[in-house]
Amino acid sequence: MTAHGGGEITPQEIARRIEQALPGARAEVSGADAHFSATIVSEAFAGKSRIEQHQMIYALFKEEMSAQSIHALALRTLTPEQSGKRGGRPS
C-alpha cells in the first residue's frame, strides 16, 4: 500500500487505519506536518508490554515512517481498563 507518497497523511487517516486494524479500538490523533500524537484505547493491548503495544501501532505505518511522511508518532496506548482508571491523563 503506497496510497501516500508525498507526506500528505492526515490525523484522520491515521486514526482510521488504527481503528480498522484493531477492532473496537478508539484512537484520538492530532498533529500535522509529519508530526503526530495518538492516544489509543484497545482491548488488544491487554497483557502486552508498552514496547509491544507501540510496536503494534508502528507496524501499521511502517512505510510512512521509513519514507518520513510520518516523522514522529507519539503514542499513548491504554487498555479500556487503564483508560477508565486514569481518565485519559497520565497519573
Partner: protein
C-alpha cells in the same frame, strides 16, 4: 564501512554501555526535539550514559531499526535491553520506573 560492520558496532555499543542512547546529534547538540528530550531525562537522572549519533550514515538508523524492530529515533538500551523511544522513556521517568531501572543497572 560494510553493513555487517555497522551491525557489529551497534551491538558492541549496546553490550559495552550500561546505558546507551541512539539519537540524532550529540549529547550537547541534539538535532531533534525527541532526542533532546530523551537526553535531558538521562542528564537529570545523572548517571553516566553513552550517546551514539545516527546521523553520519543513514545505514546506522536502518540497521538499528531492523535490529530493534523500532522505527524511530531515539532508542534507549539499558543493560543490553531495549527500553523504548522518547514516549516510553518519558512515561517511565514520570512514574519513577526509569530511575529504578537505571539504579539497578549500576548495582555492582
Amino acid at each position: 564501512m560494510a553493513d555487517d560492520k555497522i551491525l557489529a558496532d551497534i551491538k558492541k555499543a549496546i553490550a559495552d554501555n550500561a546505558i546507551v542512547l541512539f539519537v540524532k546529534g550529540t549529547k550537547d547538540e541534539p538535532r531533534c526535539g525527541f532526542s533532546a528530550r530523551t537526553i535531558g531525562v538521562f542528564k537529570e537522572i545523572g548517571k553516566p550514559f553513552e550517546v551514539v549519533d545516527v546521523l553520519p550514515d543513514p545505514r546506522i538508523r536502518e540497521t538499528l531499526s531492523s535490529y530493534s524492530n523500532w522505527p524511530t529515533i531515539p532508542q534507549v538500551f539499558i543493560k543490553g535491553k531495549f527500553v523504548g523511544g522518547c514516549d516510553i522513556v518519558a512515561e517511565m521517568f514520570q512514574d519513577g520506573e526509569l530511575k529504578t531501572l537505571v539504579e539497578e543497572a549500576f548495582k555492582p
